[in-house]
């Protein structure tokens, strides 16, 4: 823990991440305007004192929209990663612990998911649901679990052969107990690294969906970048600021993941 708190990547990435979560939580207090407040007299105004990040085609305040957009990005990022880790944990444990036919079938499912073009599979699932945050969440989760399943499976297969697991089994411990008591605690480090490292990817994918017009209709960074793309010549700030926020967020989580990998590296133990 001490080692973690001294790692520059964790300090920097973690600090920015905490600040971002604060912005997301306090968006209604921090944002000077409502994100959807239209002011047609003030469209495409450049950055100024009353609108720090300028305004968009409908005169909406870009700063307020960026602040509110952090809710979509972080919300989707955290929920998708957690849910896909949960699916991956279940599939990985079943696959690694039981082996045999269960493993064969589940691993083919993982192979198929990974063989799909990532973004296209996400879009194909997202368009099934009514456009919104839920569609983005479910489609990303149903694609991202495969990586976690593969990781957890490998971890389970190592732990399964350890002597204390054999001992537990000899004492008559049930499979469920062994998974819960021995296998999951031993997989927490790679799982945490996986969760953090992919957070940026999930946030980026969410923005990509919004940019392509199949994401959430609320103020989101990808959607704002797309709005601004139409007016790049006259109002570059409409795309610039949400993009900066997006890149900063992804960078923070990548640094954090990188730092955690350094500190928790399983190979070094």
């Amino acid at each position: 823990m001490k080692k973690a708190l001294r790692h520059p990547y964790i300090l920097l990435g973690g600090g920015v991440a905490i600040a971002l979560f604060c912005v997301a939580l306090l968006a209604p207090v921090l944002a000077p305007y409502s994100p959807d407040e239209i002011d047609l007299d003030a469209f495409y105004q450049g950055p100024a004192w009353n609108h720090w990040f300028g305004t968009d085609n409908l005169g909406r305040d870009v700063l307020s929209r960026v602040a509110y957009g952090s809710r979509v990005s972080l919300g989707i990022g955290v929920t998708t990663r957690t849910f896909s880790l949960l699916i991956g944990l279940i599939v990985g444990c079943l696959s690694g612990y039981y082996g045999g036919k269960v493993d064969l079938v589940l691993q083919r499912l993982v192979d198929i998911t990974l063989a799909f073009p990532f973004l296209l599979l996400v879009i194909s699932i997202a368009v099934i649901f009514p456009q919104g945050v839920f569609a983005v969440f479910i489609s990303l989760s149903l694609v991202m679990w495969a990586g976690a399943a593969r990781l957890i499976r490998a971890q389970v297969m190592v732990v399964r052969e350890r002597e204390y697991v054999t001992a537990a089994r000899a004492f008559g411990a049930r499979d469920f107990w062994i998974v819960l008591r021995h296998i999951i605690p031993n997989s927490y480090a790679p799982a945490l690294i996986w969760w953090t490292m992919g957070l940026g990817q999930a946030i980026m994918a969410e923005a990509g969906l919004s940019f392509l017009g199949v994401g959430s209709p609320e103020a989101s960074w990808g959607g704002m970048i797309n709005d601004g793309a139409q007016a790049l010549r006259v109002a570059p700030w409409v795309s610039l600021f949400p993009g900066l926020a997006l890149a900063l967020t992804v960078l923070a989580f990548n640094l954090l993941g990188e730092g955690l990998r350094d500190v928790l590296d399983v190979r070094e133990q």
Binding site: R108, L109, D111, I112, A115, F116, P117, F118, L119, L120, L121, I123, S124, I125, V127, I128, G200, M204, A207, G208, F211, L212, V214, G222, I225, G228, A229, L232, R233, P236, S239, L240, G243, L246, A247, L248, V250, L251, N254, L255, E258
Partner: protein, 308 residues
């Protein structure tokens, strides 16, 4: 070796069947009636039915699926609902554009990434090394579509050096910006991989031996170190190339590039299932084929690897 290739190809079959099956049924789960999309909103019920009949959309789903598989086995990807042209023809027409973009991106990424990584590895922990790694991290974290817009704004709109978007006359001037935007993510990965692989190799005994017997430093680096570090680097290059092919959707949209990526987005919005399914299958097959090629190339580059 031959039996290894055969076994790998055999393994690909069920994966591709899974891809086809999932993309077929995902398409049918999506709301919206393709017959209506084709006929237009003002079409009468009869017109819609005629179209549904013509494309077999009125048949039970299981029958449609089996028909699709049967045709697929004969190499027939079906007709586009929108343009009524064979899907294979559309893919053949659009794919070269995507391939060109991917090749350009790969070229930019390898040129910048490998040389940055090499320089970093030769001077580890110097200011240059640290700066390069920070820039690499920034590159990974920048969304490709936003970077594309930034490049477009600064290089094309402000400086007027290159055309902002489109394919134009097919000249290299039109390729540069989209290729850089798409390639940047891998520049970062490649620089880091090159650095790590080189540092790993530099510790090996055989480099000590090479130096001891008096080989020139340049020869040690290129002939002894880089040749061995190239193997893990190659994995990244190949994996990225596969992802460029299917992941060019965003870049193609930003730069109005007429490739397969921008076409499949159009197909998705039009519920043009044959085009969606055919393109997804094509991309997945490419992905698996490239992975197989990389594994084979390994054995070629590193004779220590034996296929079983």
């Amino acid at each position: 070796m031959t039996s290894y290739i055969l076994r790998r190809l055999l393994f690909m079959a069920p994966v591709l069947l899974g891809v086809v099956t999932i993309s077929f049924f995902l398409g049918r789960l999506a709301p919206g009636d393709p017959a209506e999309a084709m006929a237009g909103q003002r079409a009468t019920e009869e017109q819609k039915q005629m179209i549904a009949q013509k494309y077999g959309l009125d048949r039970p789903l299981a029958e449609q699926y089996l028909t699709y598989l049967y045709n697929l086995a004969r190499g027939d990807l079906g007709l586009s609902y929108d343009s009524h042209r064979p899907v294979s023809e559309i893919i053949a027409e659009r794919f070269p554009y995507t391939l060109k973009l991917a090749a350009g991106a790969m070229f930019a990424a390898v040129l910048l990434g490998v040389s940055a990584g090499l320089l970093s590895a030769l001077t580890p922990n110097s200011w240059y090394d640290r700066a390069a790694m920070v820039i690499a991290m920034l590159g990974i974290s920048t969304p490709v579509f936003w970077l594309g817009l930034l490049l477009m704004y600064f290089i094309s709109v402000r400086l007027n050096w290159l055309p902002p978007s489109g394919y134009g006359d097919g000249g290299i001037r039109y390729l540069i910006l989209p290729a850089i935007a798409l390639g940047t993510q891998s520049v970062a990965m490649l620089a880091r991989m090159t650095r790590a692989a080189m540092l790993d190799v530099m510790r090996e005994d055989y480099l000590q031996t090479a130096r001891a017997k008096g080989a020139a430093p340049a020869v040690v680096v290129t002939r002894h170190a880089f040749a061995n570090a190239a193997i893990p680097i190659l994995t990244i290059v190949a994996a990225d190339f596969a992802s460029y092919l299917s992941g060019s959707v965003l870049t193609e949209k930003v730069f109005s590039w007429p490739g397969l990526g921008s076409h499949i987005m159009l197909a998705i919005s039009q519920r043009d299932y044959p085009v969606i399914n055919g393109t997804v299958l094509f991309f997945s097959a490419m992905f698996l084929a490239i992975n197989l090629l990389v594994d084979l190339l390994y054995g070629f580059l590193d004779p220590r690897i034996r296929y079983e």
